[in-house]
């Protein structure tokens, strides 16, 4: 729950409230509304908490963060969390089934 998971924005939804992100190869939808004052674009990196992108970070910091999670023994929990996000079928998103891994 307190994990901060780094992900890369692949594609924004039409209303830019949600985005498809890639976290170490797993692609899931996350909510972008906490970044509405400084909206990310495709290829930006973000830190994700419980399905919501909370801050923009650099690519190098994203790699460091993933390494920290690995060192803390939490990388698996982080991937489980991301895989568990079920926001694809959120009313805001278009049909997200094609993204399911």
């Amino acid at each position: 729950m307190c994990l901060a998971i780094p992900g890369k924005i692949i594609e924004l939804d039409q209303n830019a409230q949600m985005a498809l992100v890639d976290v170490a190869g797993v692609r899931r939808k996350v909510d972008l509304r906490l970044l509405q004052d400084d909206p990310p674009v495709a290829d930006d990196w973000v830190l994700i908490h419980v399905g919501f992108a909370m801050s923009k970070i650099s690519e190098a910091d994203a790699a460091d963060q993933m390494q920290t999670l690995t060192m803390l023994g939490e990388a698996e929990a982080a991937m489980q969390e991301v895989s568990g996000y079920g926001l694809e079928n959120d009313v805001q998103g278009e049909s997200g089934k094609r993204w399911k891994q």
Binding site: F52, T68, T70, M71, M79, V91
Partner: protein, 375 residues
């Protein structure tokens, strides 16, 4: 995953360790509290206290949301969730936390509809896909997770989704720090400030700690180097007789915080007059309740809550450990009656709880500066 399991920048880690030794005045004993449970986990996992001189002591703070939740709130949430037609949804961290009559997982084994969710938005989705059920999300967390709960409630209201409610246990970090500073048996020299909470609230809310209490605060990242650098920054201030708020985690934490997150929280939540914390007792204005304008989506305003108050098991000394008065291993139950497999207290459940961190990592081979530099 191709990430290597080793310290990044071992030579910088060794340098930070040397700098800490240089700055710490030998005849003085430093007590530094890391507020955040994520830091506690990292400190044990990386064996960082082995890199510190004996007179620089790290005290583990109250920043583990699962750990500070009193058992009565768990009982209340489970009593609500056990009603016919309810789905009890919570983060995985909550599932093994013991209530008086068992954990959520044990209630599930007895037939209650308990679901693990990874995001509050997923709990909302459960409500959409189960229109005949009432989905109650058991919300916990500091300011890191509260904005996500707020946005989820805003969406529930916008959609007019009435079979969804939140049992809100969100707490705020600043009053807990104040309670610890007011505690007569606690003497602290400075604080390693929480990283992700500060992403939301920024650094200003800590200024009173420096200005009024004369204690330095350094907001820190979670890598071994971040934590050691933060300790260096604290010791530098203490050496100069200064007390100010510094931000070591600038790459993630803006000084002003995340305004969109703060707006969402202000829209949905207001401060409770008081809230009970495990180990710290009742602390005024230390938790969030859902505003009357969202009463329809507040489990407490919508349903009858038993209002259970439970004292912790007498032999367990969770409160003293939470306040940093006792080390985990000094508790009578530690490692015998209370283990991560069979936890008695919540500090043994969460990976961010100091007892679980201590149990899992403290028996490992001590890390020395030489071995840190050689990995």
């Amino acid at each position: 995953m191709k990430f290597v399991d080793e310290f990044r920048a071992p030579e910088l880690i060794a340098k930070a360790g040397e700098e800490i030794r240089r700055l710490a005045v030998p005849k003085r004993h430093y007590r530094i509290m890391e507020v955040c449970g994520g830091h506690t986990h990292a400190i044990y996992r990386f064996g960082l206290k082995d890199l510190l001189p004996a007179n620089v002591e790290l005290i583990h703070g109250p920043g583990c949301p699962v750990c500070v939740l009193p058992m009565g709130r768990i009982d209340d949430g489970l009593a609500l969730g056990a009603q016919a037609g309810f789905i009890f949804a919570a983060f995985g961290d909550m599932m093994r936390v013991p209530g008086t009559h068992g954990s959520p997982l044990e209630y599930k084994a007895r037939g209650m509809d308990v679901r693990i969710v990874y995001s509050p938005a997923d709990a909302l989705k459960l409500a959409r896909t189960n229109p005949e059920k009432h989905v109650m999300f058991f919300a916990i967390g500091f300011e890191t997770t509260a904005p996500s709960t707020a946005l989820t409630l805003m969406r529930a209201k916008a959609e007019g989704l009435h079979n969804f409610s939140v049992f809100c246990n969100h707490v705020t970090i600043i009053p807990a720090i104040r309670a610890i500073l007011d505690s007569p048996d606690m003497r602290l020299d400075g604080f390693v400030g929480p990283g992700h909470v500060s992403t939301v609230i920024g650094c200003r809310p800590y200024e009173w700690i420096a200005e009024d209490e004369g204690k330095p605060v350094v907001v820190s990242g979670f890598e071994p180097l971040d934590i050691l650098q933060s300790i260096v920054m604290l010791l530098r201030q203490l050496r100069k007789g200064e007390a100010k708020v510094e931000n070591q985690y600038k790459r993630v934490v803006p000084w002003e915080g995340n305004r969109a997150a703060l707006r969402a929280m202000a829209e949905v939540f207001e401060l409770r007059p008081y809230f009970e914390w495990r180990g710290l007792g009742f602390i005024s204005q230390s938790a969030l309740k859902i505003r009357a304008s969202y009463a329809e989506w507040d489990s407490e305003q919508r349903f009858s809550v038993p209002g259970v108050r439970v004292t912790d098991p007498k032999a367990a000394q969770c409160g003293e450990v939470l306040k940093g008065v006792l080390k985990p291993a000094q508790c009578k139950l530690f490692g015998c009656e209370c283990t991560p497999e069979q936890p008695v207290g919540a500090l043994m459940v969460s990976s961010e709880g100091s007892c679980a961190a201590y149990y899992n990592y403290d028996h490992r081979k001590p890390v020395t500066i030489a071995s840190a530099a050689s990995v």
